[in-house]
Amino acid sequence: MNEVNHFRRVALIWLVSSVILTPIVVLAAQGIPPGDGTVQAAGQTTDNGVLLGLSTPVALAVVVFFIYSLIVFRERDAAAVLDGPPVRGHAGVQLWWIVTTTTIVLFLAGYGTVRMLTDGAGGGQGPNPIAKPTSSAAALPVQVIAQQWKFTFRFPTYGGVETNHLEIPANRLIAFHVTSLDVIHSFWAYQLGVKADANPGVDNIAYVQTKNPLTFNIHCAELCGVWHGYMFDTGAVVSGPQFASWIAQQRARFAPATKLLPPYAKQYFPDPQHRGG
């Protein structure tokens, strides 16, 4: 009777399960956030698919071998349990494992770097971004000002008006300038694919290319005090004419406050308060 070739069996099961499950996982990844609300969000969704697609066969190799071992190598006769033969290395398997996983990791490192350098991938890049999208000079600047515990938004190209809520035009490159007036916050609008830390005294720039109109959530993603959990809002990507109408309304509504604001700056260092502690 021929001895069973367990390695071949496991490899076959792994191959079949990988061929079936990997496309399913990649397809399913397209349905999970952040979606395709912006170019950056769509890019992140694609990246999630690539990551999951590559990691699925690796995970399956571990899971398949684990389950196979539980079933095939299980000793059903408790009385027969003896110390097994010593486990020895297998140079061929080890070599393949190291080469394969190293190749995957290096590929992902290169892939991620290229993706990030294309347009910043929606992340905060600090005051001097190295991954500027093309036509970044024409981006609409929107300053995100965080404080305990709310976000406000300032539009330097619209008279420096500051608003309580955020609306931005569709099909437009937006340059978010994220800063804070007190502690560290984080501006996270996941449907836009943007997440950037808000540090006092720092102009943290993140680029987002909007697509069609949509509603998005804004959260603080950095534990910032007792009301951190309430530091959220709803924003909207609207059509160009709608944005023009909205920003005009905001300029009229907040005209008294605009007169009190300091000149627009990349960051603010508030004067020491009378009782600032």
Binding site: L181, W227, A257, L260, L261, Q273, H274, R275, G277
Partner: protein
């Protein structure tokens, strides 16, 4: 039952008990409304009146007598009640009067020197209709972010002749009176807070009473 079986049953029972306790903890946390120390607005035919006071320091018997705080009071600034959870009726007008006894701290963001979310867009400052105040003259903010309500409270000038140090403060001491009206939304629990870094002695003025419900933060129970 074998010894192994008994052990397994014991572990399973312990696991179930732990899971139930965790579930109870989370459930109670999510369903418990805050604060026994609450004050209800006085409802009349024309809406509900809510009277509040702000002071530089709590009463001397308070656990934190040096902490700045809001108080619930009555229409004549009597019956001071250390509460920052206020019960108000849903979908109705609320007329707020705040007796403001504290000094000027200044805003970190001048934008919120303008009142928002109130009926008519103006508030009364000692009877005078006002849209915004000088950012440096603000003592506190009364803001309910979920309702869009934000009103700056003008501070007692530094050269005041008869300031009040600790609660309760009589109207004979220097103070400002701020009045405004807003409309409550549907039933729910809403938080309110001050946005001025007014917590003397804490880092950046935003510790201590600014991060403690019962002083410069609280809830609006809309019922």
């Amino acid at each position: 039952m074998s010894a192994t079986g008994k052990r397994l049953v014991g572990v399973a029972i312990c696991a179930v008990v732990v899971c139930v306790l965790i579930g109870l903890y989370i459930g109670l946390y999510l369903t418990t409304s805050p604060g026994d120390a609450s004050a209800a607005g006085v409802t009349g035919s024309n809406g509900t009146n809510l009277y509040l006071a702000t002071v530089a320091a709590s009463e001397l018997s308070d656990p934190h007598p040096s902490w700045v705080s809001y108080y619930a009071v009555d229409a004549k600034d009597q019956n001071w009640h250390h509460a920052t959870t206020f019960e108000l009726p849903a979908n109705s007008l609320v007329h707020v009067t705040i007796y403001q006894f504290d000094g000027q701290s200044g805003l970190r963001n001048p934008f919120i020197a303008q009142a928002t979310g109130i009926i008519g867009g103006t508030f009364g400052l000692n009877g005078k209709p006002t849209v915004a105040i000088g950012p440096d003259t603000a003592s506190h903010i009364f803001a309910i972010p979920q309702m869009g309500v934000s009103v700056p409270l003008y501070g007692v000038p530094d050269d005041a002749k008869n300031p009040c140090d600790n609660a309760p403060c009589p109207l004979s001491t220097d103070h400002e009176t701020i009045t405004f009206t807003f409309r409550t939304p549907g039933k729910g629990l809403y938080r309110w807070q001050c946005f001025v870094p007014c917590a003397a002695g804490s880092i950046q003025g935003f510790g201590g009473p600014m991060q403690t419900v019962g002083y410069m933060d609280g809830f609006i129970k809309v019922v």
